[in-house]
């Protein structure tokens, strides 16, 4: 319980620090006024808009006002769209989170069996093949895989129509069919890394004394692996997957551009361009919260499955 509380407090403090730094950083970069007025900007219009948006007040006052509203769920109003940020961000967040989760599930479902298979016949043909593929795939960034997939499955094979995103509301199966490809692009490098990690983790466990004991008690290699080694080998993989889950959300930002998926990534990029800081801040905070919370949950799970941590 004490452990849990300590982690929770760290989480909150981290988020507050991030929010303050992000808020200040955007104040330094400049204001959205130039892009709001475009070529219609005159000194009078600029001054008037500055006043009406409250940019003339001290930064700390504005920060605390923003923070209290944010905690209450009021993310402010977008400067360029004149719409409440909450309503703008939430549907996009749903799309991005969905994409992340499919990519994550793909990673888990594909990499765990592959890693175990490769480890079982160390240095066998399958293992060597996996290692080579791994090495190559790991080096390809997701956006390039995205472009390849678009060319092969979108333009050549016409399995999906690049650019013709269908929302879940319109057509749920079309939506999933479209999202599979961006999810694969994000998952592939992660799968490669997880396979490699899981494989070496198993191999190192298989050399431990307790496995020798298992063999001595009559277990064959399959049983030794399945019943003994995997349980221990998977612990480091879980924390790696947790980090992956938090990083995958960031990968979405790039992949969404390539597949024209209207998630928060695209909203983030264009909002930075127009200096629409209320939107940018909300997204930065969501991304930061995601990373911090996912890691928090990973810590908890880690502790549950590995009792050694509790005693430390």
């Amino acid at each position: 319980m004490k452990y849990f509380l300590k982690k929770l407090i760290t989480l909150i403090v981290t988020l507050i620090i991030i929010s303050f730094l992000a808020f200040c950083a955007f104040q330094l970069i400049g204001d959205p006024i130039a892009s709001m007025l475009g070529t219609n900007a005159t000194p009078e219009a600029v001054a008037e808009l500055k006043e009406s948006l409250g940019f003339n007040r001290p930064i700390l006052v504005r920060y605390f006002e923003w923070l209290t509203n944010f905690v209450k769920g009021d993310f402010g109003t977008s400067y360029s769209y004149n719409l409440p940020v909450f309503g703008m961000v939430m549907p996009k967040l749903g799309v991005t989170v969905f994409l992340t989760i499919i990519a994550f599930l793909l990673t888990v479902v594909v990499s765990i069996p592959l890693g175990a298979l490769a480890a079982r016949k160390e240095n066998g043909i399958f293992d060597r093949l996996i290692l080579i593929i791994d090495q190559v795939v790991m080096a390809i960034p997701p956006f390039f895989i995205g472009i390849l997939l678009t060319c092969i499955f979108g333009v050549a094979l016409r399995l999906f129509t690049p650019g013709l995103f269908v929302s879940f509301k319109e057509n749920p199966s079309g939506f999933i069919g479209y999202m599979i490809f961006p999810a694969i692009s994000i998952a592939i490098p992660r799968i490669a890394m997880t396979v490699k990690m899981f494989r070496s983790s198993i191999i190192s466990q298989m050399q431990k004394d307790y496995i020798r004991t298992a063999y001595a008690r009559g277990a064959n290699s399959k049983r030794a692996l399945k019943e003994h080694a995997i349980k221990n080998a998977i612990i480091p993989v879980i924390s790696f997957l947790a980090v992956s889950l938090s990083e995958m959300l960031a990968s979405c930002i790039v992949i969404e551009q390539i597949f024209s998926v209207p998630g928060i990534g695209r909203l983030l990029v264009s909002s930075i361009g127009t200096r629409d800081f209320t939107v940018v801040l909300a997204i930065v905070m969501i991304l930061a919260s995601w990373v911090v919370i996912v890691n928090f949950i990973a810590d908890i799970i880690y502790q549950v499955i590995d009792p050694r941590i509790r005693f430390n």
Partner: protein, 508 residues
């Protein structure tokens, strides 16, 4: 060899994995080239991010879509003239000061309400109060607008104004006291607004009760593609029926089931020079720049020879005001440039900076070619790419620059829209051009009521810009419109406007 093998293996794995993923889902999205309904998908390069309120929209991209929803008493047509819209005709008094607009009968708003005098009065007042357009306040200050019981709008001018229809077309008529223009705009146009999803799409639907010639296509979905590559991919995959403002590279790969229409951007692209900054305050230096730039080569290198050369701040779609003798006024001549520089006291050339907004590849590429060409005349030009916001603040508003490659378009179909900004002391006179002869021509042109005389004066003014080498004029760049092969009826406008109402499917 091992590497090649590895790569092949990687590809196989990619394909294999993807196939697993694909079959796991239910059916994939069908390709777009199929039975089409009476609707089109339009690819637009940016969201309607400024505002849906007709008086608050400031970007050209927003205007070109929403002019299908909103109309004024008059509207521009594709020939560059202003024609009746909500008004059916207009009488002009002999002194040119009173304009009486007669209205069409049975004009209804998209919410089903009939247009009333109250709506007209509200629209004029609301527009005067809230417009972001910087040319309209001048009109409102000079005009007294009343609506009489006979359904006529009377505009009484204090002084004669040459381009009143241009202003009238910008005052969109909206229903009185309707508070939701920002989120659910309502106008009188041939299309009504249905919905928008930020960064995703804007959907318009044919307005069945339109008083004029009704639109032919039932539904227009404008899909936002902020990434140029994604737009091209979507085109190649047949996901879009219509897209405009495309570059040569973007249309290079489109399939044969599309028709490609070449047009111009209607933007005056130039190497804009800060006439107040040293050494550019010397006319000889500016002329030397003009002589040292080979515009033909620029066009060749930037767009494979596509584009129309310009000599002044007027582009050819403005047929009336376009003086073709100004094109090529400065023939490419490095020796002449050098001798002008020597005369001005720079026999060894000088260093200069070209600041360009990085979001416009065409301007960046043009700047790079110009910088290379200037070397021959001994001028060492550095190209500095900046973000659009920085450009707006530093270059455009604060005029803190030496030269920049950029473009100016016209918001209305009048010479004023392009020329007025260069009068001395004008708020938007980014280049600090100050020439009394020019100012005089412009003042005279704006106070004459005689059309032919006015045209002549505007042309004379545009010649002053060329003779004084105000800027190094480059081109009105080529741009391409791509359209589903089954569509017809496209009209190209000399200003930012896509008229969806004229499009139709030839097989329906």
């Amino acid at each position: 060899m091992k590497k090649v093998l590895a790569l092949v293996l990687a590809m196989t794995m990619l394909v294999g994995l993807a196939a697993c993923g694909g079959s796991g889902s239910s059916q994939p999205v069908e390709p777009a080239k199929k039975e089409h309904g009476n609707e089109i998908v339009v690819g637009i390069p940016q969201d309607l991010g400024d505002s849906l309120d007709p008086y608050q929209m400031s970007s050209a991209g927003t205007r070109e879509i929403l002019t299908n929803v909103f109309e004024g008493l008059y509207k521009p047509n594709s020939d560059g003239d202003y024609v009746p819209a909500i008004a059916s005709s207009c009488e002009i008094s002999e002194d040119g000061l009173t304009y009486t607009f007669h209205l069409n009968e049975g004009v209804t708003f998209h919410n089903g309400k009939t247009l009333t005098n109250a709506d007209l009065e509200y629209s004029f007042a609301k527009c005067a109060e809230t417009t972001l357009d910087s040319s309209l306040p001048k009109f409102f200050a000079n005009a007294d607008i009343t609506v009489n019981g006979k359904g006529q709008v009377i505009v009484q001018l204090k002084e004669a104004m040459s381009d009143i229809f241009a202003y009238i077309s910008l005052i969109y008529i909206i229903p009185a006291d309707y508070a939701d223009q920002l989120t659910a705009p309502i106008g009188t146009g041939p299309y009504k607004f249905v919905s928008r999803s930020v960064q995703e799409n804007v959907i318009l639907e044919k307005f069945e009760e339109y008083y004029g010639e009704k639109a032919k296509i039932d539904k227009i979905t404008c899909k936002v593609f902020e990434d140029g590559t994604a737009l091209v991919t979507a085109l190649n995959a047949g996901a879009i029926d219509f897209a405009t403002h495309l570059s040569l590279d973007q249309v290079a790969g489109v399939g044969s089931d599309y028709q490609v229409i070449e047009g111009t951007t209607n933007v005056v692209q130039a190497l804009y020079i800060n006439n107040a900054a040293k050494p550019f305050d010397d006319i000889r230096v500016r002329q030397a720049l003009c002589y040292a730039v080979n515009v033909d080569d620029v066009l060749q290198l930037v767009a494979n020879g596509h584009g129309t050369k310009l000599g002044t701040s007027i582009y050819p779609s403005f047929k009336k005001y376009f003086d073709s003798s100004l094109v090529g006024y400065y023939k490419y001549d490095v020796e002449k440039a050098k001798s002008l520089l020597a005369e001005a006291g720079y026999p060894n050339g000088f260093d200069m900076t070209i600041t360009v907004p990085s979001v416009y590849p065409i301007h960046v590429n043009t700047a790079l070619v110009i910088a290379e060409q200037l070397k021959a005349a001994g001028i060492n030009a550095q190209v500095q790419e900046v973000e659009w916001n920085t450009w707006l603040t530093d270059v455009y508003s604060n005029r803190d620059f030496e030269t920049t490659v950029s473009g100016f378009d016209a918001s209305t179909l009048t010479a004023n829209a392009l020329l007025e900004r260069w009068t001395s002391g004008h708020k938007k006179n980014m280049i600090n051009f100050a020439n009394s002869e020019y100012d005089e021509y412009m003042t005279k042109a704006n106070s004459t009521t005689d059309e032919a005389e006015r045209t002549k004066l505007f042309i004379a003014a545009s010649r002053v810009l060329t003779e004084n080498a105000a800027n190094v004029y480059i081109q009105d760049a080529a741009e391409f419109t791509v359209m589903n092969g089954l569509l017809d009826g496209y009209q190209s406008y000399p200003l930012y406007r896509i008229n969806f109402a004229s499009l139709y499917y030839t097989d329906l």
